[in-house]
Amino acid sequence: MKSTTRTTMMAMAAIGTLAVSSCGFGGDTSAGSEGDTTIDMLVPSYSDDTRALWEGVIEDFEAANEGVTVDLQIESWENLESVLQTKIQAGEAPEIYNGGAFSAFASEGLLYPAEDVASADTLDDFQESFAVNESFEGTQYALPLLASARALFYNQDLFDAAGVEAPPTTWEEMHDAAEKITATGTPGYGMPLGSEEAQGEALIWFAGNGGGFGDESTITVDTPENLEAAEFMKQMITDGLTQPDPGATQRTPMLNVFLQGRIGMVYALPQTVGQIEEANPDLNYGIANVPTNTGEPATLGVADRLMAFRNDESKQEAITSFMDFFFADDQYVDWVQTEGFLPTTKSGAEAMASDETLQPFLEMLPAAEFYPTSNPAWNATDGAFKSLMGLLETQDPASVLEQIQARADAAS
């Protein structure tokens, strides 16, 4: 009995020593190649599966790489960037970070160039179109993790009841379809302009008129194309074709209402297919291309990325082995497939080519407009859209775009 107690205590002391030496303050021990290295990793939650997926990857990685530990921290998208900002300010930036915008960090020299934290094989495997978006001033800083595109989801039963024959392909047809559905007593179109993702809804419409948010050097929100799109959005609102209070509607709760069959049309993501299967498999719905002003295909594409913060030079090797390990086929394909996203690697695209639910989204990807994440002013623009775009409901479209542009200009 006594000896068991002693053994337990010794074991606890040993664990305690390990824990202390592997935390950030144990700088000496992590310097040697045979000592323990700890990589801090900060990632957002994409779904309920995110934690389990990353934990699986980390477990396999740690088993294959003796002496390297990965500390995982998961935050909601809402909090992710303020958590990161606080960490950077405290000098405790995570070694690996999964996020959207990266150029503000790159411009301050906080990031490793991609070639320092991934092998040439890994870098060569990325599809060209994605790799291009990861560069700032000619250097690639981030590794594209996943892609996603938006498509129009429509409720077939509501279409039938309202006498809408085919999904709309132009704005005019969309207005028409929404009008017919609204006349039956159900909102025709769901427009979420609340803070959750106002920038996404805005860019889908802007892209549908040949507009966008600009490029890596200039943010262009207040343009004639965007204004025309915003005026059309306003038209949909004033004609009463959207759900009530679009300016204060968050996307996720609104999609739930669509899932219950109480909205005619919404823009949604590949994951929505899985959500419908799980929550309301009886929903009779279809997926179509995003209707645009002229009928030319265009949509919003989103790409998220992994980047590595430069804290302690001794960790570069461990980061590299993690990146190479993760982007290898079996780990990566499983991760992307379970999360319901589109792959960014050539090998991943081959492996997932047969996935039918992803087909319509993969087709739309070439016509996708991306956020200007490589522009250092993008963070501020994104924030301005989140807090101001909803004012479209009550204010003049021109003045809303002007206010957002002013915020973007102030930050660049």
Partner: protein, 308 residues
């Protein structure tokens, strides 16, 4: 020789030494508290003031000192007047209604009646529950699409169709005020109840003998006795309600623009959406200053510490 004649100076010096000795002796006991106060009050407050005079990049790098530039920017903010007005309305309405309702509730709970203990326990419930949880219950209840309160109001014919209570400025602030009162009542009621129980029975008897009616007894005898309890309840409520983030953040969080913001939620938006740590710090210093001014004015005017 001089053992018995201690000059006064030596005596004072001795007293000082004794004081220092007793401070050193007390250090192990008060030390942890001092560390705690320094760690969670003094240091963060000082750091916040320091941040408010810096320029901090979007990424979080501390770039340079800018003096009071952040303050002049914050004070010139066109949204500020509306935000301050909202803050004043929010604090005044919540605190006033809470105190009035709590006075009534405390008087009621002070009377003997069957089941009084149970009712007293029930009053504590909103206090015991997490504010975020309570507010979320209200938030979902008021939801247009699946809210039970909305359905109820439609069913009994008050509303023709469901209304987005949390999506319109006035309605959302109103709903937040209701929740604010709901969660503030327990503490206030208990503070006032304690005050009521301290009112001596003989004073009430004397008032009765002198022929004072119920209303006169309440306003001229009981209420003045409640002075210090009321003063504490009001002061703590003002600070609490002024600094409240969760209720407003949940109830008015989805409203675009800044028409429904108080100083607290605005600071949060500047930090979360604009990622301006420096401006948010400047606003927090402003917030801190306002609270100090309110407390100072209150202590000066009401003199809650005065015994009479």
């Amino acid at each position: 020789m001089s053992t018995f004649e201690q000059p006064p100076i030596t005596r004072i010096r001795r007293a000082r030494v004794r004081n220092r000795e007793s401070f050193v002796a007390a250090l192990p006991w008060i030390g942890p508290v001092l560390i705690l106060i320094f760690g969670v009050v003094v240091f963060p407050a000082a750091y916040m003031i320091y941040n408010s005079t810096r320029r901090i990049s979007q990424a979080g790098t501390n770039i340079e000192g800018v003096g009071f530039a952040n303050f002049s920017r914050v004070l010139a903010d066109p949204n500020l007047p509306r935000i301050l007005l909202n803050t004043v309305v929010w604090v005044t309405v919540v605190v006033t209604l809470t105190v009035i309702l709590s006075l009534a509730l405390a008087s009621f709970l002070n009377k003997p009646f069957p089941g009084r203990t149970l009712v007293r326990m029930a009053v504590v419930v909103p206090w015991a529950a997490s504010v975020v949880m309570t507010t979320t219950v209200f938030y979902y209840g008021l939801d247009r699409d699946y809210g039970i309160m909305n359905t109820f109001l439609v069913d009994i014919g008050i509303l023709d169709s469901p209304y987005g209570f949390t999506k319109n400025v006035t309605a959302a602030l109103g709903a937040a005020i209701v929740v604010g009162i709901f969660v503030s009542i327990p503490f206030t009621t208990y503070t006032l109840l304690a005050g009521l129980q301290a009112v001596p029975a003989d004073i009430l008897e004397a008032a009765k003998m002198d022929g004072a009616g119920r209303v006169r007894t309440y306003f001229l005898v009981i209420l003045p006795q409640l002075r210090s309890a009321l003063a504490v309840a009001v002061l703590i409520n003002v600070i609490n309600v002024f600094n409240n983030l969760p209720i407003l953040r949940i109830m008015t969080g989805s409203i675009p623009g800044y028409d429904a913001d108080t100083l607290m939620t605005y600071i949060f938006k500047v930090l979360q959406f604009d990622r301006r740590l420096d401006l948010a710090s400047a606003l927090s210093v402003l917030n801190f200053a306002i609270v100090i001014v309110i407390v100072a004015a209150y202590v000066k005017i009401v003199k809650p510490m005065k015994e009479d």
